[in-house]
């Protein structure tokens, strides 16, 4: 199953895990499975059917906005990353 890398700020909402696998053949389907496993992630990632504007998702280091967004096809070996905006400094 494709894996989803969970960034540090979201880990408390994913049972402390840094990596969660999800079923599905698109980014959207995998993320939906992940938020079903960890419901606290739902409101942090999604606004209705869309990703929240501040949530950036990459597949194998490429932004899904220049792939096919949530419809981007993924296979079992793909790695999906949720990339946080890091504010401190």
């Amino acid at each position: 199953m494709p894996s989803v890398l969970i960034p540090t700020p979201l880990r408390p909402h994913a049972s402390g895990l840094d990596n969660v696998t999800g079923q599905g053949d698109t980014v959207g389907a995998v993320l939906l499975d992940v938020v079903t496993q960890h419901p606290a992630l739902l409101e942090r990632l999604f606004d209705g059917d869309d990703l929240r504007r501040f949530v950036n998702v990459y597949v194998n280091n490429e932004d899904i906005r220049f792939l096919d967004d949530l419809q981007t096809a993924v296979t079992a070996t793909d790695e999906i990353s949720i990339i946080p905006a890091i504010a401190g400094g």
């Binding site: 540090t8 700020p9 942090r44 504007r53 501040f54 950036n56 990459y58 280091n61 490429e62 932004d63 906005r65 220049f66 990353s81 990339i83 946080p84 905006a85 890091i86 504010a87 401190g88 400094g89």
Partner: protein
């Protein structure tokens, strides 16, 4: 470059850097005629300023709104306990230290809060803008100014053991808003207070920014980073996310549509919660400097007052106000913006 009074080549001090072939003497000479503005002189900013002044960038302007506190010393490498005792502004303390390190560099300290009204004045004569800030409001403002002026800037952010950086060249690369369309709203993301921050993580990211600055100023454009760098020094992870393809693909409000919402004051407030300090900054424009003497006289009846030419500190009811001559106040003891506005109104008046 002319020889100094002692007859020594002023470039000699940079010999080890010039012997690095990709930079060379030609690159060094370009650094010497370059100007940068460093926005923010905290953890990132002190490391950035340290590298760039030592490297011989000709003019370094350091802009920061804050004063040094003991808990800064863990990671803000230009400051020491004497600076805390003297209540020095960060920009001024950094400039004093850096002038001792490299007298060839023109170092300008500006103690102010960067906002939409002053940012163009602070960056328009710079060849490059560097991000030493700790909040996205200022970063989007820098991005607006940089895109509007067609000026490069380098983004960096750090929290915990993680950081990210990218080099933004308007018209050539995606801008900040292409890549990070929006920052999380308050309460949706950890702050330095909840997540903490490691000094080495800051040094890594600021050093990435500094080397990008050196390449850019020296005209070594082919060597520049075109990706979003993500580092976690605790877990030894280093990632390079491909962002170049976003240029032209994203209908960016800033660099495609030319909307400068932060620069025009439409976005961004005059109140800011300060990362990691249980404090709120309230900026109130008065157009004339505060009368410290009069204010101190009024406040002394209500709590403890300390002042120097740069600031007035006032403690009462578990809150600590640091009030600046321009009317700005940092109110420690609350994260609640409304409460901070109320406290400001009660004790300072607006």
């Amino acid at each position: 470059m002319a020889f100094a009074d002692d007859g020594r080549d002023p470039l000699e001090r940079y010999s080890r850097q010039m012997r690095f072939p990709p930079l060379g003497e030609d690159g060094q000479r370009k650094l010497a005629t370059s100007r940068v503005t460093i926005c923010g002189c905290g953890a990132l900013g002190t490391v950035l300023a340290n590298h760039l002044v030592r490297a011989g960038v000709g003019h370094v302007r350091i802009v920061d709104r804050d004063f040094i506190e003991t808990h800064n010393l863990q990671r803000q490498i230009l400051f020491d306990e004497t600076d805390v005792a003297e209540n020095l502004p960060k920009a001024e303390a950094a400039a004093r230290k850096l002038r001792l390190i490299n007298s060839q560099v023109q170092i300008e300290a500006v103690v102010t809060d960067i906002d939409h009204a002053n940012i163009l004045d602070l960056v328009s004569d710079a060849d490059l803008i560097l991000d030493g800030t700790d909040n996205f409001e200022t970063r989007y403002l820098i991005n607006d100014a940089a895109v509007k002026l067609g000026k490069p800037w380098i983004f960096g952010g750090v929290i915990g053991s993680e950081g990210q950086s990218m080099t933004i060249r308007p018209g050539i690369t995606p801008c900040l808003r292409c890549v990070i369309e929006s920052s999380p709203p308050p309460g949706m993301t950890p702050t330095c207070e909840t997540a903490g921050v490691l000094g080495p993580a800051v040094s890594v990211i600021a050093s990435f920014e500094a080397v990008e600055a050196i390449k850019l100023l020296a005209g070594k454009l082919d060597a520049l980073n075109t990706e979003l760098i993500m580092v976690d020094i605790w877990n030894w992870s280093f990632r390079r996310l491909k962002i170049a393809g976003l240029k032209g693909k994203v209908d960016c409000p800033t660099c495609v549509r030319g909307e400068f919402s932060w620069l025009e004051g439409e976005f961004g407030t005059h109140t800011t919660t300060l990362c990691g300090r249980n404090a709120v900054q309230v900026a109130v424009r008065r157009g004339e400097p505060l009368n410290f003497g009069e204010l101190a006289g009024r406040l002394r009846a209500l709590g403890e007052v300390k002042q120097n030419a740069f600031m007035l500190k006032f403690s009462t009811e578990g809150y600590e106000f640091t009030i600046f001559p321009d009317g700005r106040a940092i109110i420690k003891g609350t994260n609640d913006i409304a409460r901070a506005r109320s406290l400001y109104a009660q004790f300072v008046g607006n």
